[in-house]
């Protein structure tokens, strides 16, 4: 009667889908003020969890609560499972105080993924704002591991200030490669910032990709994605070649709690990554 969803690590009829598995913090890395990366390893053994770039897990902090957090590590090395988190509220603040050896609960991976396969042969625009670079990093790793299969690859990243540039060392490293275009901009900066200032969508003018042959993957605040979509479409990237990752309140990840609805879609399982042509009209409806 029922079938396991693709990519599911457990059989939903046997395992209770609401019951987390236990994971231990292997390492915690402070990235920026209030932003940290957790590397997690399973406590109870079992099959290695595999994931696709763009998917997320539900992370549980004992007694406090559970939140959706994207995988931010390399899908080719899913052990440990890496998550980059910005502390903004009750659960994420509690997660911030974890230390190596502590335990968390984890359910997942859930959701749709970036079109790493569909984009092969095409130019690739990867655009992120703020913490939105975290869910795109697994895609960048996967593309770099198979670099020859893609055309031009552009990474456009925007942060509020120079101090809030996530994965700065890696961005530098990627920028030094000849087979990548990497542009970083900030909203505002002091005099010692020599880079670009302005909204991330302006970086699209930098070109380096051929719009009709481009696949674009966007993750960031919805307002940023809205402008990015407009700019991309102006340049001739079709809506069926644009992918966005959306954020909604999530309590289950399974399509049961109803909180994540966005029109007819459950963002938890029909998303978080959506091909834009499927949601174009509703993307413009306020408070849908």
């Amino acid at each position: 009667m029922t079938q396991a969803a693709p990519g599911l690590a457990w059989n939903p009829m046997i395992a209770d889908a609401m019951l987390p598995a236990r994971y231990r913090v292997d390492a915690i890395r402070r990235e920026l003020t209030g932003v940290f990366t957790l590397a997690l390893v399973p406590v109870d053994g079992g099959d290695a969890l595999t994931f696709a770039p763009g998917q997320y897990n539900m992370l549980y902090q004992f007694g406090v609560g559970e939140v959706p957090i994207s995988l931010s590590g390399d899908p080719a090395c899913p052990r440990p499972l890496v998550h980059t988190i910005r502390a903004v509220g009750t659960v994420t603040n509690a997660l911030q105080h974890l230390a190596s050896g502590h335990m968390v609960g984890l359910r997942g991976p859930f959701g749709t993924h970036w079109p790493a396969e569909a984009a092969q042969g095409a130019d690739l625009v990867i655009m992120a704002g703020g913490i939105g670079l975290a869910p795109l990093r697994p895609l960048i790793y996967q593309v770099l591991a198979n670099r020859k299969r893609y055309g031009a690859v552009c990474i456009f990243y925007g942060a509020r200030t120079p101090d809030e540039i996530l994965y700065r060392d890696e961005l530098e490293q990627w920028r030094s490669r000849f087979d990548l275009t990497v542009e970083v901009t900030v909203d505002r900066a002091g005099p010692d910032w020599l880079g670009r200032v302005g909204v991330v969508t302006r970086l699209l003018a930098a070109k380096g990709f051929s719009p009709p042959d481009t696949i674009a993957c966007l993750c960031g605040p919805e307002i940023m994605m809205r402008y990015a979509v407009l700019a991309l479409r102006d340049q001739g990237v079709g809506p069926e070649r644009i992918y966005v990752s959306l954020e909604r309140n999530m309590q289950c990840g399974l399509g049961f709690c109803g909180h994540c609805q966005f029109g007819a879609s459950f963002v938890c399982r029909d998303g978080p990554v959506f091909r834009f042509d499927g949601i174009a009209k509703r993307f413009d409806i306020r408070e849908i």
Binding site: D16, Y60, G63, G105, C252, F256, C257, Q261, R282
Partner: protein, 381 residues
């Protein structure tokens, strides 16, 4: 055994005894605090007798039938009340699991479900439809809610066809009633007139048939079957409301209609409609710890898309305006539900109309939008 039997009113006790003998816990309509509610039945005499309901927008009243009329003996002559069977299959608050601190961290303890095997006595056709709709949500998608699936599989359903429509019913236009076609083990039709009171019993499953071996019955005559059919047709003809057949398309095409702001001026955002609705499935989880921090628990409880917290994300709720929340509710029920689950999310039971404190009427809202439609459909999706 033929497919349609006749039992006397007294045999209802025999039916309950047989259910109990088979290990079921019978649940059915009882009179509590002025309303019909579903609770454990210990005897057939617990069933309300001679009560008629009066329902309208924001209005519900039970009254005793005139002692000189045959209605005074009637048992199922009222329509659905504020509750539905949802509360038994998908409890309003449920423990999901517990966790306990250990030396190396913590350990999870899965919750065991100790719900009995229920026998639902008196499930109306619209309520069978609601169960089938929730089946799609909880057990026919990519994930299965095991607790729901187990409680559902164990339950025995004695349906009751409607022979008198409630004031807010519109099941006939939703294709869910007033006659039950399937989805029951047994289905009763009350035959009631001045000199006769009995029940037709249709057999819907092998366990229904086995149960009837234990209950005094005889074969129903064609005349009796015809009387039952007519009584159900009467109920269909009494319904004063209907849902426009293309409600799904009307709502999909009008997310920006001015009616949303108008209805929002009346809507109190109280969530009553979602809590009485037999198909609404939304829930929220709640994580707690014991005072000493050693034990943690997770519960799941009913939630409603009418609350501000429902759509909360860092930065604020997605649906701040009442207009957006009402639009989400009705559009989900009647339109996006089709895309999600291949069926409408509305059975036409009328509860959301009756229990809305200001009497907002789901059929009237769709009709109002239809009457003044102007937008073009969401063509690209």
């Amino acid at each position: 055994m033929p497919d349609t039997l006749l039992i006397s009113t007294e045999a209802l006790q025999g039916l309950l005894d047989a259910l109990i003998a088979k290990g079921y816990q019978p649940v059915g309509p009882r009179l509590e605090r002025g309303a019909i509610v579903y609770e454990t039945l210990s005897a057939a005499s617990d069933l309300p007798r001679g009560y008629l309901d009066e329902q309208g927008g924001g209005h519900y009243r039970l009254s005793k039938a005139d002692p000189s009329s045959p209605e005074t003996a009637g048992i199922f002559r009222y329509a659905v009340g504020p509750q539905s069977w949802k509360g038994f299959l998908f409890p309003s608050r449920q423990s999901l699991w517990r966790a306990r601190r250990t030396e190396t961290g913590f350990a999870f303890e899965p919750e065991t479900d100790d719900a009995p095997a229920y026998a639902f006595l008196g499930a109306r056709p619209c309520e069978l439809a609601a169960m089938r709709i929730q089946d799609r949500v909880f057990q026919e998608g990519p994930y299965v809610d095991r607790g729901y699936a187990e409680r559902r599989a164990r339950a025995f359903v004695v349906a009751v066809n409607c022979t008198r429509a409630g004031g807010t019913c519109f099941c006939a236009s939703m294709g869910t009633g007033p006659r039950a076609e399937d989805g029951f083990d047994l289905c009763l039709t009350e035959l009631l007139d001045a000199d006769d009171h009995a029940f037709l019993v249709e057999i819907g499953s092998a366990s229904g048939r086995a149960l009837m071996e234990l209950v005094r019955h005889r074969t129903a005559t064609p005349e009796e079957i015809e009387r039952g059919r007519r009584a159900i047709t009467d109920a269909a003809e009494q319904m004063g409301r209907r849902m426009p057949p293309d409600a799904a398309a009307i709502l999909a095409s009008n997310p920006e209609h001015p009616r949303w702001d108008q209805v929002a001026q009346r809507c109190l955002s109280c969530a009553n409609c979602t809590l009485v609705c037999p198909t609404c499935f939304c829930s929220r989880v709640e994580d707690t710890t014991s005072l000493d921090g050693v034990e943690a628990a997770r519960h799941r409880q009913w939630d409603s898309c009418f609350t501000l917290d429902f759509s909360y994300i860092h930065g604020g709720p997605v649906r701040r305006e009442t207009a957006a929340r009402y639009r989400h509710w009705i559009t989900h029920k009647l339109s996006t539900w089709h895309a999600q689950f291949g069926t409408s999310g509305c059975t036409g039971c009328g509860r959301c109309i009756t229990w809305c404190p200001v009497g907002i009427d789901i059929t009237e809202e769709v009709a109002a939008i239809q009457a003044t439609e102007r937008a073009e459909p969401l063509g690209d999706e």
